[in-house]
C-alpha cells in the first residue's frame, strides 16, 4: 500500500516534469489549474474522505488564498510567490480556526450548510467591499517573482508554461508528499476513527471535535495555497472563486475521482479540467453534460473513477461455523 503510493507519487511527479518536453503549450496551460486544484482537493479530501465531513463552503478558502496573493501584488510591493503562498496559508489558518471551531460542532448536512453559509458571507464581502476587493471585477494579480527571480522579460505564455509550470509542479509534489505523510500518521488514523464511529472514538479518548478542527484548518490551508496558485495564470481574481458553485465543483471533482482513495481526487481534478475544456469547446451548456455525469457517477460508480481501477479489498472467507 505504502509502496504503491510512493510509486504513484513518483510517477506523477515524473510525468509532470516530462510533460513540457512532449505536450503542446495549450495542454500545459490546462495543467496549471489542474495542479492548483489538485492541491485544493488533497486538502478537501482530508476533511471529506478521511474525516467524513463534506464541506460545501471550501471555495471560501480558495478565495482567501487567491485574494491574499492578489492583494500582495497589487497593494504592496511583495511580488514573491513564496511569500504569497505563505501569507495565503496563514490568512486561511487564521480564518479557519474560528470558522472551523464553530462548524465542526455540527455534522452531516448541518456542517455542510454552515460551511456554505460562511462561504456566502465571504463571497458577499468580496462583492460589496469594492474599495478593498475590487467588487465583481476583482483584483489583478501581477506576475509573481519565483525564488526572487523577476521574470518580467519573458512572454506571458513562456513564463506560465516554463518557470511557473515547474514551480506549480513543485508545490503540488510537496503538498502531496506532506498530505501522504499526514494520512499515514497516527493523526491520520485518529481522523479515520472519527469518520467511522465518532462515539467509539471518544470512548477511546480521541477528542472528536478537536481532531475535526485540526483537519478543517489543514484543509483550509491547502485550499488557500491552491487558490493562490490559481491567480497568476489568469492574472486576475474575482468573487466567483469564492462562490458556492465553486465549492460544488471541487466536491464534484472529488466524487468524480473517488474520495475513498488518496489519489482519487487528483485524478478527479485532472479529468474535470480536461472534460470541462473539451465539453465547453463543443457545446455552450457544459453544466448540463456535467450534471448528467455526476448523476451517473453517484448511481453507478460511487467509488468514482479510482473505484473502477482499484478493486475494493476482497472479502475474507467467513468461517461458516461462526457465521
Amino acid at each position: 500500500m505504502t509502496r504503491t503510493g510512493a510509486a504513484v507519487l513518483a510517477a506523477m511527479t515524473a510525468g509532470l516534469l516530462i510533460l513540457p518536453l512532449v505536450a503542446p503549450t495549450y495542454h500545459l496551460t490546462l495543467m496549471l489549474p489542474f495542479m492548483a486544484y489538485a492541491v485544493i482537493l488533497l486538502g478537501l479530501n482530508l476533511l471529506f474522505g478521511y474525516t467524513g465531513l463534506v464541506s460545501f463552503g471550501h471555495a471560501l478558502f480558495i478565495g482567501i488564498g487567491a485574494y491574499a496573493g492578489a492583494f500582495l501584488t497589487t497593494h504592496t510591493s511583495v511580488r514573491s510567490l513564496e511569500i504569497m503562498l505563505v501569507v495565503a496559508a496563514l490568512v486561511a489558518a487564521v480564518v479557519a480556526a474560528p470558522v472551523g471551531a464553530l462548524c465542526v460542532r455540527y455534522v452531516k448536512i448541518y456542517f455542510g450548510m454552515l460551511t456554505l453559509a460562511f462561504g456566502m458571507v465571504f463571497y458577499t464581502f468580496l462583492l460589496k467591499f469594492y474599495r478593498l476587493t475590487g467588487g465583481d471585477e476583482g483584483m489583478r494579480v501581477l506576475r509573481p517573482f519565483l525564488f526572487g527571480q523577476d521574470l518580467g522579460e519573458m512572454s506571458k505564455t513562456a513564463y506560465l508554461v516554463g518557470p511557473y509550470y515547474y514551480y506549480s509542479a513543485g508545490v503540488l509534489a510537496l503538498a502531496t508528499f506532506c498530505m501522504w505523510r499526514i494520512v499515514q500518521s497516527p493523526f491520520g488514523l485518529c481522523l479515520r476513527t472519527i469518520r467511522d464511529n465518532p462515539a467509539k472514538a471518544e470512548s477511546l479518548g480521541i477528542s472528536v471535535t478537536r481532531y475535526r478542527w485540526y483537519a478543517f484548518t489543514i484543509s483550509a490551508v491547502y485550499a488557500a495555497v491552491g487558490g493562490a496558485l490559481l491567480g497568476p495564470p489568469t492574472g486576475n481574481v474575482d468573487p466567483t472563486l469564492a462562490y458556492w458553485t465553486h465549492s460544488g465543483n471541487i466536491v464534484f471533482m472529488t466524487l468524480l475521482g473517488g474520495f475513498s482513495s488518496f489519489f482519487g481526487p487528483i485524478l478527479g481534478a485532472f479529468v474535470f479540467i480536461y472534460l470541462q475544456d473539451t465539453v465547453m469547446s463543443v457545446v455552450p451548456y457544459w453544466r448540463l453534460i456535467f450534471g448528467g455525469i455526476l448523476a451517473v457517477i453517484v448511481i453507478l460508480a460511487p467509488g468514482g473513477l479510482m473505484g473502477l481501477f482499484v478493486r475494493a479489498r476482497p472479502l475474507p472467507a467467513v468461517d461458516p461455523s461462526r457465521a
Binding site: 505523510r181 479515520r192 467509539k200 467467513v318 468461517d319
Partner: protein
C-alpha cells in the same frame, strides 16, 4: 475505593431513574451490576462513565469528581468501557483499531508527519492486545468483515488497549451464542490480568456468568440498590431472587440454560 458513587439521583422529568444509588469498587474487585430492564442500569452506566451529570449525588474515580466529564477525559483518567451494542470502526482493520487506542493512550494522536507503520511501540502494543483476544491472525481483516463474535471481541479489546485501571463491560457476551460466552469471559479475565486492569465492572443479564465470575454483586431494582453483597448472599436473598434473578441459577442450568441473555 477506586470508583465511588454516593447518593446518585437521576430524574428524567418527573421520572426518577436512579433514586439514591451508592456503590463503590475496590481495587482488585470484579463487581457485577444486575437488574431487570428498567432498573436503571443504563442510566447508572452513563453516570459512572461520565456521560451523564446526575441530578444529585457524587461520583468519584481515583478521588476525582467525574460527573459529566465525558468519555474522552474519562478514558484518559483510566476508566474505559465497552458497549452493549457492538461499536467498531467498520472500515479499519483489527490492528488499526487497536493501534488507534494505543495512539490515544500514549498521546501521539497529534503527530502529524510521523509514520504510524514505523512506530514499533504502538504496533507491538496493539499486537499484544490482539494476541490476548485471539485476534492476531485476523489483524489485517477489515472490522466490518469480521464475524459478529469477533466484532464484539474487537470492541472490548480496543477498550483494553487503553490499558485502563478500571473497565466497565456492558453486556460483553450479548448477541453471542451460549457456547462462546464462557470462552469470551475466560479471555476477558485472562486479558485483564495480562494488561494489569485493577477492577472490572460487569453489567450482565446472564446469571451463569454473573455468578461464575463476580467477587461481589450489586442488584438494582426500580432505581435503588436492592442488595450489594457476595454472590452467595445474593443467591440467598429472597427479595433479589424474586425481583432480579427469577429462578436460582442452578435450577436454570438444570432446565437447559434457558434463553441466554433474556432478562428474567
Amino acid at each position: 475505593m477506586i470508583l465511588q458513587a454516593e447518593g446518585v439521583r437521576q430524574f428524567y422529568g418527573n421520572f426518577c431513574a436512579l433514586d439514591g444509588v451508592s456503590l463503590g469498587i475496590e481495587t482488585g474487585e470484579f463487581v457485577s451490576i444486575i437488574g431487570p430492564n428498567g432498573a436503571g442500569k443504563s442510566t447508572l452506566i452513563n453516570v459512572l462513565t461520565g456521560s451523564l451529570h446526575p441530578s444529585a449525588g457524587t461520583v468519584r474515580f481515583k478521588e476525582r469528581d467525574i460527573r459529566g466529564i465525558g468519555p474522552v477525559r474519562l478514558a484518559r483518567l483510566g476508566l474505559a468501557r465497552s458497549f452493549q451494542l457492538v461499536q467498531i470502526f467498520p472500515d479499519l482493520t483489527v490492528i488499526e483499531t487497536l493501534q488507534a487506542a494505543v495512539v490515544s493512550r500514549v498521546g501521539r494522536g497529534t503527530r502529524l508527519f510521523a509514520s504510524l507503520a514505523r512506530d514499533r511501540q504502538v504496533r507491538d502494543d496493539a499486537l499484544e492486545v490482539a494476541e490476548l483476544f485471539g485476534l492476531a491472525d485476523k489483524r489485517h481483516t477489515v472490522a466490518k468483515h469480521l464475524p459478529q463474535g469477533d466484532k464484539k471481541l474487537l470492541d472490548v479489546a480496543s477498550a483494553f488497549a487503553l490499558r485502563p485501571e478500571v473497565i466497565l463491560l456492558d453486556e460483553p457476551t450479548s448477541g453471542v451464542s451460549t457456547r462462546d460466552k464462557a470462552a469470551i469471559m475466560e479471555m476477558l479475565v485472562a486479558a485483564s490480568k495480562g494488561i494489569g486492569i485493577r477492577a472490572i465492572i460487569l453489567v450482565e443479564h446472564d446469571m451463569d456468568i454473573v455468578f461464575g465470575y463476580s467477587d461481589r454483586i450489586v442488584a438494582l431494582h426500580q432505581g435503588r440498590v436492592l442488595a450489594d453483597a457476595l454472590p452467595a448472599a445474593i443467591r440467598a436473598d429472597e427479595a433479589v431472587v424474586a425481583a432480579v434473578i427469577g429462578r436460582p441459577p442452578a435450577e436454570r442450568a438444570a432446565r437447559g440454560r434457558g434463553l441466554p441473555g433474556t432478562p428474567p
